[in-house]
């Protein structure tokens, strides 16, 4: 075919768009926050935020929703990055549910996610009185995300009402909020998973080691490989963790994150594996699987 468009040129345009969204958010909202979930998308999100305000420091805090069931490596990575970059890091947790002993094993994934992630996020936003939460959701992740706005309005109670979403014209955003409304902002809306990886490669962005293949202790349940990250993982009778070379396409709570068998222990191998396998990344996420369109139902409750 005709002249080739370098991938980097596509990334430049996506980067400029994300920076524009960041600057608009920082200027227009009273108290915005960057939602940081430690994964690759969050790493890109953070990198872009720092670029957007250079040479000034990040003008807003960063919040992590900590379910306490994240991979150990993720928490170590989070604290290291926060320290290196001098981030104003806030942690949001659903202490009530934790005290009640809610775990991924005691409750269904849907209820667990609602309590430990959705409710914790809502409470975090309320406690710090954030009026805008900037996150890394992308339109290519899932079908219902294809209609998500870049500036996504939440009604009082963090409810997402698809009929109330604002039309988005040009680069011009309506960032006005009525009392008790809040905004979720998605600077990576138009990025694809491959864009995220290519950008990580180009910008040499640091990401958790869990994305790269390594011998890890896993058990197989219903066709999904789960990593036994600590001794809270209740093994079934006769179940013995085996060491396998695995990596993770998305990072979340370790009992809910399916691993893929892989030998890709560096970025180049990982990207070439990505380009040949064409399964959508959320297929490894157990929380999305309950019934078609369940992402839409979760969003209506206030999930990211």
């Amino acid at each position: 075919m005709q002249q080739t468009v370098p991938y980097s040129a596509v990334l430049d345009e996506l980067e400029a768009e994300a920076i524009h969204i960041y600057r608009e958010s920082a200027a227009a909202f009273r108290n915005p926050v960057l939602l940081y979930s430690i994964g690759k998308d969050s790493s890109v999100l953070l990198h872009l935020a720092i670029k957007a305000f250079y040479p000034a420091p990040l003008p807003f805090p960063v919040m992590h929703i900590d379910t306490t069931w994240k991979f150990k490596e993720m928490i170590e990575f989070r604290d290291k990055r926060a320290n290196e970059l001098g981030l104003d890091l806030r942690i949001a947790q659903n202490l009530e549910a934790m005290a009640e002993g809610v775990t991924p094993f005691s409750h269904g994934t849907h209820e667990y996610t609602r309590l430990m992630k959705t409710v914790a996020l809502r409470e975090g936003i309320d406690r710090y009185e954030f009026d805008a939460a900037i996150g890394g959701a992308r339109r290519d992740e899932e079908r219902s995300r294809a209609k998500e706005r870049i500036f996504s309005l939440r009604e009082p109670g963090h409810r997402w009402d698809p009929r109330k979403q604002r039309p988005e014209f040009w680069r011009t955003a309506n960032t006005q909020l009525a009392p008790e409304q809040t905004m979720r902002v998605f600077p990576l809306s138009n990025w694809t998973e491959l864009d995220v990886w290519r950008y990580i490669e180009r910008e040499e962005i640091e990401i958790p080691g869990l994305y790269f293949a390594k011998e890890r202790p896993v058990v197989e349940r219903g066709g999904t490989l789960l990593m036994v990250d600590d001794d809270r993982f209740p093994l079934n009778e006769g179940e013995v963790p085996v060491m396998k070379s695995v990596r993770f396409r998305t990072l979340g709570c370790y009992p809910l994150s399916g691993a893929v068998e892989s030998t890709a222990d560096n970025l180049a191998d990982l990207i070439s594996e990505m380009e040949t396998s064409k399964v959508s990344e959320r297929s490894g996420r157990l929380i999305d699987g309950e019934g078609g369109g369940s992402m839409e139902a979760k969003k209506a409750e206030g999930y990211f």
């Binding site: 468009v5 040129a9 596509v10 227009a28 040479p55 000034a56």
Partner: protein, 612 residues
């Protein structure tokens, strides 16, 4: 153009019936843009009405988004998807539904579009919605329209059918001033001419749809003549760093270039173009950068740094508006206007007409309802710089926001500034109009006679002037037709031109009044807002609005200039009282009847001038 556009913004228009979902689904699959599990879903899942056998891909399932919509089998909103073309170009698709009630969604999708793919069902031919889609795309500034004449397999791949459709579409496109239009005969179901050229239509010599998207280049952005940089955020950092962060939305700029702060007219030179990856020598369209200036000037968020084509603030604009709110547009109500990163209170002062998006006709209207498109006038609380939308979408497009609910109720496209606030500081002279009035021995005032053509404005003015002249009072008459032979000979009779006509006459009348003369203005001036603008130039009492109230049948009976006869023959579409509305004053200082006694009317005017 040598540079390849890396990301193409595509808008797709058409309805499910035209096979749009199937076409987009096929584009996604043909470009490997669909994950395997989603493809599997489209193979195994079926919904009511689907005729695609299980096991084959039901392409339409790939593009339906929300659960509620899947159940109803319709799409109700704009969905965003991407394609990767083999040459590396990214295509971002904004997909909007074809139903008539969703003009607003089409406008959203088209607002960012470089190219529109407009589907027409070959078997059913051009339909009203085809015109609607063309109109909205043209209005929102989509440069290139590709007409995908679909379902060619159902019409035996007939060249005649294709040409028939394209002929009709081209006629409408020409009327709308669409810059570039191409037609491609396709079949989304069989894949003909979608990704690759089909053998079934040897008469078609052009590109496949994907091929056309791969080679497309912009015609050249009109705004390349001017640099535009709306300031989003002031970056302050150590070492007294003060930079202006934003995105280049038009043109380009280099270090050392002079820019003007469009709001204040102050100028400065670009000192640095800062990015996290190091300073740049030049910043071009689409780049997000931080600019520093060579000396301190007042710049705040919302200001526009500009160079090239002049951009000046104004506080009245003629605009096209897409009404989005469920509540209709309310006259005189204060909305928040958001233009780029600036927001300012604004009111709609006048609705000129509503556009019939199918026929292209303009209908007189007082309100705009949801999904209506119309021409209105707005007034902003303070002057702001806005470009014509045709020059730059980002600095010419704006939103209106309800100040209570914070909902976006309209998208506006600035067409022209009606009253500029020049960066001029007037010199104040000691001898003013009052000093001159005392020398003249009589007050200097403006008498503004408004009324239909043939109502008797000039006749009444003439009679009053004769009386005043006899009394030793200095007078002058500014007559509409006389003005149009000179100062205003470049103006026609559209509402925009009438507004400008009134503005110029008002300014001239003010200068003459300041010289100490009693000025009569005899001008149809049919629009209330134009006359109100004229009145704002004067102190209360110095502007006397006189309504010459004569029934239209009397005027057309008199027809001293033969205009009513021409209008009746259809030769004067903008004739006031016939094709265009006359808005009588709500609260005139004086009403005289053109059917009444001339001498009495003249006396009333003289009294009003001397007593006011």
């Amino acid at each position: 153009m040598s540079g390849q556009t890396p990301v193409l913004h595509l808008v797709t228009c058409g309805s499910v019936d035209d096979g749009k979902s199937t076409l987009i689904g096929r584009l996604l699959v043909e470009t490997d843009s669909v994950p395997i599990d989603q493809l599997e879903y489209a193979r195994t899942t079926r919904r009511g009405g689907s005729t695609v056998p299980v096991g084959e891909v039901d392409y339409s399932l790939l593009t339906d988004g929300l659960e509620a919509e899947r159940e109803q089998g319709i799409t109700i909103d704009v969905a965003y998807r991407h394609l990767n073309l083999p040459n590396g170009r990214r295509v971002l698709i904004a997909d909007s539904p074809g139903h008539e009630q969703y003009t607003r969604n089409m406008a959203v999708a088209a607002s960012n579009g470089d190219v529109a793919v407009l589907l027409v069902d070959a078997a059913r031919g051009v339909r009203p919605q085809t015109h609607r889609h063309l109109t909205v795309c043209a209005l929102m500034g989509v440069q290139t329209i590709i007409v995908a004449v679909n379902k060619m397999d159902l019409v035996d791949y007939s060249h005649e059918v294709f040409e028939q459709v394209m002929g009709e579409v081209r006629t409408t496109a020409a009327r709308l001033g669409v810059q570039q239009i191409d037609g491609i005969p396709v079949s989304a179901v069989t894949g003909a001419n979608v990704a690759t050229k089909s053998n079934a239509m040897p008469w078609y010599k052009g590109e496949s749809l994907l091929g056309a998207l791969a080679i497309w280049e912009p015609l050249g952005r009109v705004a390349d003549e001017g640099f535009r940089f709306p300031v989003q955020f002031i970056v302050r950092a150590e070492g007294n760093f003060r930079g202006y962060a934003g995105t280049v939305v038009a043109g380009s700029i280099s270090t050392g270039d002079e820019v003007v702060v469009a709001d204040s007219g102050r100028t400065a030179k670009i000192a640095r173009i800062v990015t996290a990856d190091g300073d740049l020598g030049v910043a071009t369209y689409g780049q997000a950068v931080t600019l520093t200036l060579d000396h301190e000037v007042d710049v705040t968020r919302g200001d526009i740094l500009a160079a090239g084509t002049v951009l000046q603030p104004a506080d009245r604009f003629g605009v096209d508006m897409v009404w989005l709110g469920e509540e209709p547009l309310a006259h005189g109500r204060s909305y928040l206007l958001i233009s780029g990163s600036r927001s300012v209170p604004a009111t709609v002062t006048n609705v000129r007409h509503r556009l019939d998006v199918v026929s292209g006709h303009e209908h007189a209207a007082r309100v705009l309802n949801m999904n209506d498109i119309g021409r209105v006038e707005i007034a902003t609380d303070r002057p702001i710089p806005m470009d014509p939308y045709s020059l730059c979408r980002d600095t010419g497009g704006f939103l209106l926001v309800d100040r209570v609910t914070a909902d976006t109720v309209a998208a506006g496209l600035s067409r022209h500034a009606m009253r500029r606030a020049f960066n001029v500081v007037p010199h104040v002279y000691d001898v003013d109009h009052q000093a001159r009035a005392s020398l003249m021995g009589h007050p200097a005032r403006v008498v503004w006679l408004t009324g239909l053509s043939g109502s008797g404005k000039s006749t009444i003015a003439d009679a009053a002037v004769r009386k005043l002249h006899a009394m030793g009072i200095h007078t002058y008459v500014l007559d509409g037709d006389n003005m149009r032979t000179g100062l205003n000979k470049d103006l026609g009779f559209t509402p925009e031109d009438r507004a400008e006509n009134v503005r110029r006459v008002a300014e001239v009348s003010k200068l003459m009044r300041d010289s100490g003369v009693v000025v009569f203005v005899a001008l149809v001036s049919p629009f209330r807002s134009d006359r109100e603008s004229a009145a704002t130039l004067f102190d209360k009492g110095d502007f006397i609005e006189v309504f010459v109230d004569t029934p239209v049948d009397v005027c057309s009976e008199r027809d001293p200039k033969g205009l009513y006869a021409k209008a009746a023959a259809g030769n004067l579409p903008n004739m006031t009282g016939v094709g265009q509305a006359y808005e009588p004053p709500l609260n005139p200082d004086l009403i005289v009847h053109g059917t009444g006694d001339l001498d009495t009317s003249a006396d009333l005017l003289v009294a009003a001038i001397l007593e006011a």
